[in-house]
């Protein structure tokens, strides 16, 4: 049950909640070795798009292709290639750092669980705190642990929903460095963020969403801040 892909393509994806339109005919793509940023004001549809990419939400219209296959065609094997870090971190506070990682490693049916977990704890700089309950961790420590949990199964596509929120400068720098490592390792990284400083340091491609529509989608070219303000303020539409 192995499946892999080197490109994610969103084609005319719309999502409605009853009569409310969360996404309207959004199309974009991202390749292995690229970091795509989803920018936009609150309620623009960024998290909805991320949930659709994560297969947690089905689009009302349109499709997402992971390589040549849709989520339905790829089946559960696709989920073993997806890593998702949401703002809520997906960790059990009553379990220790190690127990959280072991639980998810076994749930993903990974081999060499002890080695993987030890390596993940080391990368998160949490080896000395491995047997402490997550409820006693700071936001930064939880964030590092949650990121390693999302990467435990070596996913091709990593989806991050506002991963920089609540982090101090040092933690933001460490996270940016880790994401750059993943880009170098040919992973596809999609990040939802409001932090334009970080966006300018990290992103290869930028998609600006406004009121559920794609306002802009292009390579970053280092001018994210001006472009973002121009599109969000002026309400431009991308062709």
């Amino acid at each position: 049950m192995t499946f892999d892909f080197d490109q994610v393509a969103v084609r005319d994806v719309s999502r409605h909640y009853g009569r409310r339109r969360a996404l309207s005919r959004v199309s974009l793509e991202c390749r292995a070795g690229e970091v795509l940023g989803l920018l936009g004001p609150n309620g623009a549809g960024k998290s909805t798009l991320l949930s659709i990419l994560a297969t947690l939400l089905a689009p009302s219209a349109g499709e997402v292709r992971y390589g040549a296959k849709t989520a339905t065609q790829a089946g559960p094997a696709l989920r073993s290639r997806l890593g998702f870090l949401s703002h809520d971190l997906h960790l059990y506070p009553e379990l220790t750092a190690r127990e959280n990682l072991v639980f998810f490693a076994k749930l993903y049916n990974l081999g060499r669980v002890d080695d993987r977990v030890a390596a993940a704890l080391e990368r998160a700089s949490l080896t000395p705190r491995r047997d402490d309950m997550v409820s006693g961790f700071s936001r930064g420590m939880r964030q590092r642990l949650a990121l390693e949990r999302a990467l435990l199964h070596d996913p091709r596509l990593l989806l991050l929903d506002e991963p920089f929120t609540g982090l101090d400068d040092a933690s933001v720098d460490a996270l940016v460095a880790r994401l750059k490592e993943l880009r170098a390792a040919e992973r596809i990284v999609v990040v939802v963020t409001h932090d334009l400083d970080v966006a300018e340091r990290l992103l290869d491609k930028v998609a600006v969403l406004k009121e559920g529509r794609l306002a802009a989608f292009d390579h970053a070219h280092g001018r994210i801040r001006e472009n973002y303000r121009a599109h969000v303020a002026a309400g431009d539409r991308c062709s």
């Binding site: 089905a58 989920r79 809520d88 971190l89 960790l91 059990y92 009553e94 379990l95 749930l107 993903y108």
Partner: protein, 225 residues
């Protein structure tokens, strides 16, 4: 792999509960309070109202079970860990079975406290047919939990989940509650009506098969929003 995933989820839930004891304590306390209130209302001068014990036992199981279901999935909602479970490439029905077994285990612990208390306060002959009574309780708990786990998981992101859960759950599980009450009442007769109790137990087993099968079948599509 199916059983391995189910066991992983059960073990994780038990570890979390052993550390917090939040759901067990609140559920047992609620069930005991429920029985005590009914005992004050229905036991006059040491004589309980006839046939009240079976009904009160199952009402307490249903109420405390609803509380346990709500709290169990509230825990999964807190850090959106249910989404993390759904994202894993593991079989989703296996995850459902894991959650279901955790709820059943919790209900059985509650019942282990509840039944002796009802025997004491309502003079119910709980020891006259212990295996039949255990059979009814287990079968009733499976049926109630099978529906409850499905609905609680489905409603985990709904804003009015605390109100919606009993509204959806009680009408569907009414057959289970009625079969449980009638079967238990048959066992609590001065001369236990074994044939009648067996008939209600068989009916409960039938409901269990139907509810568990339907839940396993619908869990995956219902959990994809």
């Amino acid at each position: 792999m199916f059983l391995k995933v189910a066991w992983l989820v059960v073990r994780k839930d038990l570890t979390v509960e052993v550390r917090s004891r939040e759901i067990l304590y609140t559920t047992v306390f609620f069930a005991v309070a429920c029985v005590l209130v009914f005992a004050f209302a229905l036991v006059k001068e040491g004589r309980p109202l006839e046939d009240a014990a079976a009904g009160i036992m199952w009402i307490s199981v249903a109420f405390s079970g609803t509380l346990a279901l709500g709290r169990t999935f509230e825990r999964e909602r807190h850090s959106e860990t249910l989404r993390a479970l759904m994202l894993a490439p593991a079989s989703r029905p296996a995850i459902y079975v894991g959650k279901l077994l955790g709820i059943i285990l919790l209900l059985l612990i509650v019942e282990a406290v509840l039944v002796p208390l009802i025997g004491l306060l309502f003079h119910a002959p709980i020891a006259s047919r212990p295996f039949s009574l255990i059979g009814l309780l287990v079968a009733g708990s499976v049926g109630f939990s099978a529906c409850g786990t499905l609905f609680a998981a489905m409603l985990v992101r709904a804003r009015s989940r605390d109100v919606l859960l009993p509204i959806l759950l009680y009408p569907i599980t009414i057959p289970v509650i009625i079969a449980g009450v009638r079967g238990t009442a048959a066992l609590f007769e001065p001369v236990p009506a074994d044939d009648l109790a067996q008939m209600w137990l068989a009916l409960l087993a039938f409901f269990d098969i139907v509810f568990v099968t339907l839940s396993l079948w619908t869990f995956e599509p219902l959990m994809t929003e």
